[in-house]
């Protein structure tokens, strides 16, 4: 019975835009000369991240415990990391926020996480463009 082969596109075709897209939201699109898309993605993702910081959102840190705690903290940590340089620069500049019992700060935490998740979508988009799956 013939097996279906899934061809993985050559690394050099997509690695640079994907890496740039992770490091700076929209940079992968800039690399592929999708200037308008890159600007919009940078505005939206960096804007969401910035508002998250201004609302005193909390960055997740890896933490083990029961299943729920582990999933939430590791998942949140990975989503925060997906912001790339935005996350690293904020951490490097000393941004650290303890959890506040305040609705706006809670929104801020969600903004930081969702900015990372949206950047993952942007990275998938830039991958698809780079390998020719998307016009």
């Amino acid at each position: 019975m013939p097996q279906e082969k899934h061809m993985i596109p050559p690394l050099q075709q997509w690695a640079a835009p994907v890496l740039l897209g992770w490091l700076l939201p929209g940079a992968g699109h800039f690399y592929l000369k999708r200037w308008n898309h890159g600007i919009l993605l940078l505005f939206a993702i960096a804007g969401m991240f910035g508002f998250g910081l201004l609302m005193r959102g909390r960055m997740f840190e890896p933490q083990s415990g029961d299943l729920f705690t582990t999933v939430v903290h590791y998942g949140g940590y990975m989503a925060d990391m997906a912001n790339g340089s935005l996350y690293f620069v904020a951490s490097w500049l000393g941004y650290h926020q303890e959890q506040l019992a305040h609705a706006v700060a809670d929104y801020g935490t969600k903004f930081l996480v969702c900015a990372g998740l949206l950047n993952i979508l942007a990275i998938v988009d830039v991958y698809e463009i780079a390998v020719g799956e998307k016009p």
Binding site: F51, R56, V104, K110, A115, A122, D125, P135
Partner: protein, 60 residues
């Protein structure tokens, strides 16, 4: 500096940023992207106001 937004303002900002990203990556032509982005923003608005009213009325 601390930004003290209301629930509505935060939800509107979230809807705006998420709609832009989903609009950009969601479709293949610029016309479809604008339409899709506006549609997503509209759905966010419907959910925000719909659920807001539902919670208000359900609260009694």
């Amino acid at each position: 500096m601390y930004l003290n937004l209301t629930h509505l303002e935060a939800a509107l900002l979230f809807a705006l940023f998420a709609s832009i990203v989903l609009g950009v990556i969601g479709r293949d032509s610029d016309k479809e992207r604008i339409r899709y982005g506006l549609g997503v923003f509209g759905y966010f608005m419907a959910a925000i106001f719909g659920l807001g009213w539902l919670m208000y009325l359900g609260h009694g």
